[in-house]
Amino acid sequence: MSTVTGVSAADQTPGPDGRRPLQADHASTGRVGDRLFGGAATVSGVFVIVLVTLIAIFLIVQAVPALMDNSANFFTSRVWAPGGEQPAFGILEFLWTTVTASAIAMLLSVPVGVAVALFLTQYAPTWMRRPAASLVDLLAAVPSIVYGLWGLIAFAPVFKPVQSFIEDKLGWFPLFAPTGISGGTICFIGVVLAIMVLPIVTALSREVFDQTPTAHKEGALALGATQWEMIRTSVLPFGRPGVISASMLALGRALGETIAVTFLVSALADGNPWSWSLFNGGETFASKIANNASEFSNPNKTGAYIAAGLVLFVLTFVVNSIARVVIERRKAFTE
């Protein structure tokens, strides 16, 4: 796996010499140096655990008082008025926007990303593979604010006619109902997020496809499979867990993406009627928090935003745990 996301599947996998990495050996001599160094390493490791625990605890502790004072239902209300005598706030709208935009991003980026990865490993002429892979890697490193800037200035005008076309032709369908909002619609944000996570999906999938055992592929070809049949029967099954975890990591990225979305969103006016349309505006968790950073004046207001952040944390936690489980299962198969 790669450091795009910092997550790796390589915990217990055999090293290049085919052996499992050194497990608990008993080389420690019990000398001062050993105890100090081993102690420092252990402390660092435990520190990471403490850090993650603290994140959860601090977010919960500071969110709870605000949630207690909340006069609206946190999960089903669309109001966001955390200040004042009678704070009322709910996350329904952010949840909808965040999840829908990320779903669009996944629907677009996973098939394309996997196809590009297959292209780079199976179809591309040899001279093209390295430069193209480097280009993808470079794009995975481009900061998200650049995607936001590009989306805002360069891409939005191009997307506008596409949106009006779809609204014209498919407007009868609730998901595509015209809302009068152009620019930062959920759909547009989803597309920009898709472009942003595409290099991540591609880079991770490419690495997995590259590792398909030659024997599998040659076996398929020797049985008379066409190249596509070879890919379908040997490369894809081998790479499936890797693709799933890559997608989950990309999904985590899309859910939590802040600045690109903040550049693009159209916030909805208070009391806006509910719409199922993908062409509606609306803030995501991350953009709502980022846009209101200057409002963190009193603890109750801050608490409301922290509560929203907590939901986002839980959301990404679940997604990452699923990725983790998939990776573990793959390990169980390969060992």
């Binding site: 490791g45 470079l138 490419r206």
Partner: protein
């Protein structure tokens, strides 16, 4: 940024897929998709058609993906480059430069960004490397599993949540003000998992024979780890660190929450607003319709990309020349 390919051992064997299918025009059996089309009877033709369709789809997907990506790079370079050639860009700051004024420099933001990621690296790198050492050299049983799991969790924490956490602990609980240092702390959270994972992978590449030889000579474990294992993996670890720095350099969410922007030079990480490149881009967000503001944003974006790219290139060069030899 995918680095595993670069950190892999020097690859002197032919990639698998070239053996199997590298030359797509004559796969084993001598039938290319097109020949198959003309020569085969009906049930076979369906398979051949599928094969050709799949090939076309893959090429199409590649070009579909390349278009926006090249478009982005092209726009940033095309619109940002001439800002970088103005006389004040590398020397001046944005003091008294309004959205509708031309000119001004980015030096304050470049220095600020470098200073901030420097502090971040100073804190995150030792923790990250030691944690990786624990996981590879010492870890066993439940503790190692739990640490490994929490590193995964940490790597999935969205930057905005990391920022909220630092806000909750640093500003709300401790009562400090927002500052460059607070933002650096949030970046530390984002950088630790990157360092741990990349270092871990490098340490695993160090052959066990080296450790065993060292033990056999009576070298204590800590000295073996420091002088043999870490030294062997050194270049790979440096690469991981550079890529980790590149990764947090462009993070904006923590800066939005924790380090308000200033147009002036500011070297004090602990008091007052702090200039950084992402925030410099963000600053003109509301005025992007003004040519002057847009120019500044593109210029800052290009500068940021160049910094990230520079770190990546240095990292790759080090990885290329210093890879662990078998």
């Amino acid at each position: 940024m995918s680095t595993a390919t670069d950190r892999r051992l020097p690859d002197d064997r032919v990639p698998d897929d070239q053996v199997a299918s590298g030359d797509t025009s004559t796969p084993p059996g001598g039938r290319s998709g097109r020949d198959a089309l003309s020569e085969m009877s009906n049930p076979h033709r369906a398979r051949a058609v599928k094969d050709v369709v799949a090939r076309v789809v893959m090429w199409a997907a590649f070009f579909l993906a390349v278009v926006p990506l090249v478009w982005i790079l092209g726009t940033v370079i095309g619109k940002g480059f001439h800002m970088l050639t103005t006389s004040t860009w590398w020397t001046g700051n944005q003091r008294n430069v309004n959205s509708d004024d031309f000119g001004g420099g980015a030096r304050h933001a470049i220095e600020g960004t470098l200073q901030m990621v420097g502090i971040t690296a100073l804190i995150a790198v030792p923790i990250g490397i030691l944690t990786a050492v624990y996981l590879v050299e010492y870890g066993r049983g439940h503790l190692a599993r739990v640490i490994s799991f929490t590193v995964d969790i940490l790597s999935g924490v969205p930057s905005i949540v990391a920022a909220l956490f630092i806000y909750a602990i640093w500003v709300t609980a401790f009562g400090f003000s927002r500052s460059g240092f607070a933002a650096a702390l949030a970046l530390v959270l984002l950088m630790i998992p990157v360092i741990v994972r990349s270092t871990e992978e490098m340490l695993k590449l160090v052959p066990n024979e080296l450790r065993e030889a060292s033990y056999a000579l009576g070298v204590p474990k800590w000295a073996t780890v420091v002088k043999i294992v870490l030294r062997t993996a050194f270049s790979g670890i440096v690469t991981g660190v550079l890529l980790g720095i590149a990764r947090v350099m462009g993070e904006t969410a923590p800066l939005l929450i924790l380090a308000p922007y200033t147009k002036n030079f500011q070297r004090d990480l602990f008091n007052g607003n702090f200039p950084t490149l992402p925030m410099m881009i963000n600053q003109d967000r509301g005025d992007f319709a003004l040519a002057t503001a847009a120019e500044r944003m593109w210029g800052a974006a290009l500068t940021l990309i160049l910094l990230v790219l520079l770190l990546n290139v240095i990292g790759r060069v080090i990885a290329h020349f210093g890879a662990v030899k078998k």
